[in-house]
Symmetry: C2
């Protein structure tokens, strides 16, 4: 399951990316328009800032803004910050690899083999989509 943190985080990023103006956007504005709890959203935007996707301006008139152009922000990095590893098991994770204790040999493990395929296909989707693609979602 996708966490609400990730869901809200993506919506907030899209909200910010949609604005073409350069001045920062307040957490409260996003929270109101996207139906997100203010305090929860605060912590989400904070972690996006700490990971280098967003930057912030403190004090009155402050808020958050993107550090890069939307088309330069891949969804892989967004997902990794918000949701954590993309792989469904640590033993196939590229960035957070861990061996399974119960598995003597990875090379003959059926779960390993299957999850490598899932990881690759999911990774493909996330790296083909940038924040700009998310902004342009319209039916």
């Amino acid at each position: 399951m996708l966490s609400k943190k990730t869901k809200y985080g993506i919506k907030a990023l899209v909200y910010i990316a949609k604005r073409e103006r350069e001045d920062p956007i307040q957490t409260s504005e996003i929270a109101k328009n996207e139906n997100i709890s203010l305090k929860f959203l605060e912590s989400i935007l904070l972690s996006l800032r700490k990971s280098g996707i967003l930057a912030s301006k403190k004090g009155k008139g402050g808020g958050y803004y993107l550090l890069k152009e939307p088309q330069e922000i891949k969804m892989t990095s967004v997902i990794r910050v918000l949701e954590g590893p993309i792989a469904m098991v640590p033993c196939v994770s590229l960035n957070y690899y861990e061996k399974c204790e119960d598995c003597p040999y990875e090379s003959t493990c059926p779960v390993h083999a299957l999850m490598i395929q899932v990881r690759d296909s999911t990774l493909k989707v996330f790296s083909e989509n940038t924040l700009a693609d998310m902004v342009s979602v319209k039916k």
Copy 2:
């Protein structure tokens, strides 16, 4: 994250499928060989039986056996029984659809659009793999 239930369930199914003999295989044998807690495995095999993937024989000499040939058992059905919905959000689930309360329009939701792509690519992997493919994992 993939649950241990799913991981153990797949390993157990592969263990059963690897045997070509027709007589049932005991939970205890699988638990020992795959390093799985016996009681936990019991409950997993039980749910696989209830969903029609496995059948069982009670009493002495009893155990579990496959109801269909391994190449006829798609991983989609295995995953759905063990892990639940394949989609990461209910609003893109084919079998367990639910509307998001916080989303006024799905058609313009960026999360929805992204998760449809993830769902489709993951579904493709799971439906291209059968239990027979899992059995033949060798390096």
